[in-house]
């Protein structure tokens, strides 16, 4: 069990009294951090990135550090590793097995780095040196700390490490270069390098943020194995409350450079006492919950770390703020009646029990659209795709090109979107989601397949007039709000442009812009500001306002919240929900975050290698997935619920998304399918030769008897021959060993 200490305080706290009594001495801790402070000098003054971090990490345990961007979690980890630039001012104490690390020279620090304490970084694509083989980079880690090791021994160890992190045919892969590996494989290599010398402490800084959800599940599994093999203590840094729920023993929530709540994982998830933690937990949509309630938005933005806060740093965003909150920054103090659960809030004692976070943060009521009452079949269609295909020829040769294959990016897609409905497309990167959007936006008569937008077909889109009529029906919101807004346009100009194109006069434009600003929750007097004067969430609101300017019926949302922090994301999702209800909009959304998809969509399509493998009403698909891929995808999503995560059975898919070039003849998914792997050979043959068609789920006989007569077929279709087949047990993982945490 690990402990958190507050900074030196005149009156000894419960934890300190325990230390004094020798009940648990910090010498047990493999890593112990005391009053860690980091500040950087900038042109505007000192930025206090980390302010007073304390923790003890016990051997073999996992500490999760959770926070949004700018909360100081990465800086903390780099300070421990001694990897901050020389200009950073660091104070406090970092002890590794009792030895002080702060103040060591770069050279002296090298004895520990990569040996006793190792690190896995966020972006696997740029974290490996592109010009050296994977083998060279692994052996380098061995050579540095074991100069006497023989060449053969090093190679054997490198092969062993690669096998441990699950890289197939490791001996041959030693000679591969990083660019020959996928992102997930590179992250495995990073883990192999980190555990090469059996470290006592492994720091993982957002190790899965850049990866697809199925690959994330694989990598988390590898980290788990690595921890078991080496017995290392792990510091897991993440912004995703789901990722740490299942693997952490303790959690530290950071805000504005300071830990604001610490405790065991159950304390934090089930009994949060700091309004910020409560808000964060309420801001995350859950993939496993169908009940529709609005997300908890946390207004405002994190404070500027240039100024030392005079009160609670969360006070400006806290709905419970009182004058007492502004009087000095509250220190972490034990929550009464608990073990080592601490919160930095003067009201922590009163926040326990049945406090409803939705009430505290005054989450908006669930908006109801006028279309919700009309059956889907009676609403008019705003977008229809009929057998849309996009095949890219793969050619070879510079002068005379030969076609050596075809990439079927989108392969026979058909679906429709009705008025007032949100339809989402999900899938891993490379599954053809973005190509689908591009095909819809392209709207050209030579396209393969038919796209009908608001009754206008692409087959009649011969002239610019039809196209511009289509553009008024459909608008787009992009993933990166910063990149999507011209930095030299004021918000007014951004919003006026589509209106001018529509031929509106000046006065009408001005009126419409004020309307739009109100609609998306921005202050109308901010219209003369430039995009860089807004925060990320506000910029996305500007992006939404621009899309809505011409009153479209359909808005295409391309990963609308993936670039935003959790607390800001909730506000934007609520806004999208509200707009759909109030304006009767339809959405076509592409997203990789299935929790967000479940929260805002009515219908969903799961894509795999350019094809829809399952489509239907969102609750049906999520609660009763039929296609093995949908099942795997859903089981890979971490849920911010520690109990659930610990006992949950996961399907871990093997390998990466195959290259579309090698797409098998029969079912695309056969190469990774957990059902296929367990099928008898005769049935496997069936999967490999025939392509499963999309077929509706048949209502079971039992239901028909109950309803006394035929019931309408449910809105769910899937493409699989053996949806009820058994799953291959090698792909199933349950961590039942994780015991519940007593406080």
């Amino acid at each position: 069990m690990s402990t958190f200490l507050e900074p030196a305080d005149p009156a000894p706290t419960a934890a300190e009294r325990l230390h004094i009594a020798g009940l648990h001495s910090p010498s047990d801790a493999v890593l112990s951090v005391r009053d860690l402070n980091v500040s950087f000098n900038s042109e505007n003054g000192a930025v206090h990135a980390v302010r007073g971090v304390n923790f003890d990490l016990m051997p073999g345990k996992t500490l999760g550090i959770v926070g949004e961007s700018g909360s100081g979690k990465s800086v903390t980890s780099l300070a421990i590793m001694g990897l901050l630039p020389a200009t950073a001012e660091i104070s406090g104490s970092v002890r590794l097995k009792g030895r002080e690390l702060l103040g060591l020279s770069d050279k002296a620090m090298c004895a520990y780095r990569g040996n006793d304490i190792a690190m896995v970084f966020q972006d696997p694509l740029s974290s490996l040196t592109p010009v050296y083989t994977v083998g060279t980079q692994i052996t380098e880690a061995l050579t540095i700390h074991n100069p006497g090791m023989s060449k053969a021994a090093k190679e054997t160890r490198a092969v062993e490490l690669l096998a441990m992190v699950g890289i197939p045919s490791p001996r041959n892969r030693l000679r591969a270069f990083p660019h020959e590996f996928s992102g997930g494989m590179r992250q495995r290599v990073m883990i192999a390098i980190a555990i090469a010398n059996n470290p006592r402490v492994l720091i993982a800084d957002e190790p899965t943020t850049a990866l697809d959800v199925t690959i994330q599940a694989q990598v988390l599994e590898v980290l788990h194995t690595a921890q078991e093999e080496t017995g290392a203590a792990v510091v897991m840094i993440t912004h995703d409350l789901g990722v740490v729920a299942g693997i952490a023993d303790d959690i530290m929530v950071m805000y504005a450079g300071k830990p604001v709540e610490t405790g065991s994982v159950d304390d934090i998830y089930y009994d949060p006492r700091m309004p910020y933690t409560m808000g964060l937990l309420g801001a995350v949509p859950r993939v496993d919950v169908a009940e529709k309630s609005s997300l908890v938005p946390i207004d405002g933005i994190p404070p500027n770390l240039l100024h030392t806060p005079t009160g609670c740093s969360f006070a400006p965003r806290c709905p419970l703020v009182t004058d007492a909150c502004l009087d000095g920054e509250p220190a972490l103090s034990p929550v009464p009646g608990t073990g080592y659960h601490q919160a930095a809030c003067i009201k922590s004692a009163s926040l326990g029990g049945d406090v409803d976070v939705h009430e505290i943060f005054s989450a908006p009521p669930v908006p109801v659209s006028r279309f919700d009452l009309i059956p889907r079949g009676d609403r008019s269609t705003v977008l229809e795709l009929k057998d849309v295909r996009k095949h890219f020829p793969l050619t070879k040769g510079a002068l005379l090109k030969r076609r050596i294959g075809t990439v079927k990016a989108v392969d026979g897609l058909s679906f429709d979107i009705r008025e007032g409905e949100c339809f989402s497309i999900v899938g891993e990167s490379g599954s053809g989601k973005t190509t689908t959007l591009l095909e819809i936006m392209e709207f050209h008569k030579d396209q393969d397949g038919e796209v009908i937008i608001g009754g206008i077909s692409n087959k009649q889109a011969a002239d610019a007039k039809t196209k511009s009529a289509m553009r008024r029906e459909m608008q787009m919101v992009f993933q990166d709000p910063t990149g999507a807004l011209d930095p030299r346009f004021t918000v007014y100009e951004v919003l006026a442009e589509p209106l001018q194109n529509a031929g509106m006069d000046k006065r009408a434009i001005k009126k419409r812009i004020m309307e739009l600003m109100n609609l998306v929750g921005l202050q109308p007097d901010h219209v003369n500001r430039f995009p860089n004067q807004f925060s990320g969430g506000q910029r996305q609101r500007v992006g939404i306002a621009r899309a809505l300017a011409v009153n479209p019926k359909l808005v295409v949302l391309d990963e609308p919240v993936s670039a935003l922090d959790v607390s800001v994301q909730a506000g934007v999702i609520n806004l999208l929900d509200k707009l759909r209800a109030e304006l009767g909009l339809s959405y076509l959304m592409v997203a990789h975050d299935l929790s967000v998809v479940r929260h805002i969509s009515n219908r969903v399509a799961v894509m795999y290698l350019g094809k829809i493998v399952e489509i239907g009403e969102v609750d049906r698909v999520f609660d009763n997935p039929r296609h093995p891929y949908t099942r795997a995808l859903l089981s890979a999503i971490p849920v911010p619920d520690p109990q659930f995560e610990r006992t949950r059975e996961r399907i871990i898919l093997q390998g990466d998304l195959p290259s579309p070039l090698d797409a098998p003849k029969g079912c695309n998914f056969a190469t990774r399918c957990p059902v296929f792997a367990a099928l008898p050979a005769a049935k496997q043959e069936h999967c490999l030769t025939l392509e499963p068609p999309l077929e509706a789920v048949q209502p079971s006989a039992a239901v028909e008897i109950l309803e006394a007569g035929p019931v309408p077929t449910p809105d769910q279709q899937f493409a699989c021959f053996f949806p009820d087949g058994e799953l291959d047990e090698h792909m199933l993982v349950v961590h039942e060993t994780a015991e519940p945490h007593a406080p």
């Binding site: 770069d106 780095r113 040996n115 740029s126 974290s127 592109p130 083989t133 390098i193």
Partner: protein
């Protein structure tokens, strides 16, 4: 690799043929050596001029197309690049000139590269420190100062040394002293001739490599993979030299491969100022002397050298960057 080279080679031969042919047409229709001949004293009659031109294969009465066919046939069948208006044979002249240029630039190119890249690394490792500021400021100065002025300054310096010592140690112009006996004395004479141009060209040249190498390395010192290397237990300097340096050398290697040939073909100022009559000065002279064949020959040489540079750059890139595949 062989197949790749063959393919690239064929493409470049075709391109060289096109540029050279286009150059010939341009030269033959704008350069009129006969007019220059006419200015001679005693003034020859137009018939005499035309006759002398015809004998050298430069008949001004033929159409450009006819002269092109004749010139091309000469090259294709006898590898004869024609003659100059003064009667010299291009083939003979050309060999001498290329050899002179090569000798003039070879040593300084090697020095420029080594010094430039080394100083780039040195200054990047000490970014914004005193050494970096001095070196980088010098490089920018060398960038700004026109090459001829820098060459003159070096010459003046050498003359100053000679005067201070009171003996002629350095020759500031010329290739060698005529009539030297082979042996030690000739070697000393060669070094004395070599020193000044080599130093001058090197001093002016390394700046661009230093700036490029420093910039590319700085782009990489804070790269994620350098951080990974440090997390393994390398010191910052070890991580930079082992990991960042090679990556940062990729673009530099490419630019080196492209610039070497350019220097061989176009060191006009250096050749003029140090009086080494190489290819660069010849190409300028050819134009002022209305010499169609010489101008075309130097153009062809430039194209060949450029093609070599492009292939060399590809080579260099594949050598240092495993991500580039040759197919």
């Amino acid at each position: 690799m062989i197949r790749y080279l063959a393919k690239r080679g064929i493409t470049y031969v075709f391109m060289i043929f096109l540029t050279t042919s286009a150059g010939y047409f341009l030269a033959v229709s704008s350069l009129k050596p006969a007019l220059l001949e006419q200015e001679r004293i005693p003034r020859p009659t137009p018939e005499q001029v035309a006759n002398s031109m015809r004998l050298k294969g430069l008949d001004p009465d033929l159409s450009p197309w006819e002269r092109y066919v004749e010139w091309l046939t000469g090259i294709m069948t006898r590898w004869d690049w024609g003659r100059s208006p003064n009667g010299a044979f291009i083939n003979a002249e050309f060999g001498d000139r290329v050899w002179i240029s090569t000798r003039l630039f070879l040593a300084s190119i090697v020095l420029t590269l080594v010094i430039g890249v080394a100083l780039g690394v040195y200054s990047a490792a000490r970014q914004y420190k005193f050494q970096d500021r001095v070196i980088t400021s010098y490089s920018y100065l060398a960038y700004i100062v026109p090459a001829p002025i820098a060459y003159f300054l070096v010459q003046l310096g050498a003359i100053n040394i000679n005067e201070t010592v009171g003996e002629r140690i350095f020759f500031v112009t010329g290739i060698s002293t005529p009539g030297m006996q082979p042996g030690w004395a000739q070697f000393v004479d060669m070094v004395a001739h070599y020193a000044v141009p080599t130093i001058a060209i090197t001093l002016v040249g390394w700046g661009s490599y230093q700036i490029a190498q420093r910039q590319y390395l700085l782009d990489n010192v804070n790269a994620d993979f350098v951080r990974t290397a440090r997390a393994k237990g390398l010191t910052r300097n070890q991580a930079i030299t082992r990991h960042a340096l090679r990556v940062s050398f990729i673009p530099v290697a490419q630019s080196i491969a492209f610039t070497i040939p350019a220097i061989f073909a176009g060191g006009f100022f250096a050749e003029k100022i140090f009086a080494w009559p190489g290819v660069g000065s010849w190409s300028i002279d050819a134009i002022s002397l209305q010499d169609v064949n010489a101008a075309t020959a130097t153009l062809a040489y430039g194209s060949v050298i450029f093609a070599l540079g492009a292939i060399l750059a590809d080579f260099a890139t594949t050598l240092v960057d495993p991500r580039v595949r040759v197919q």
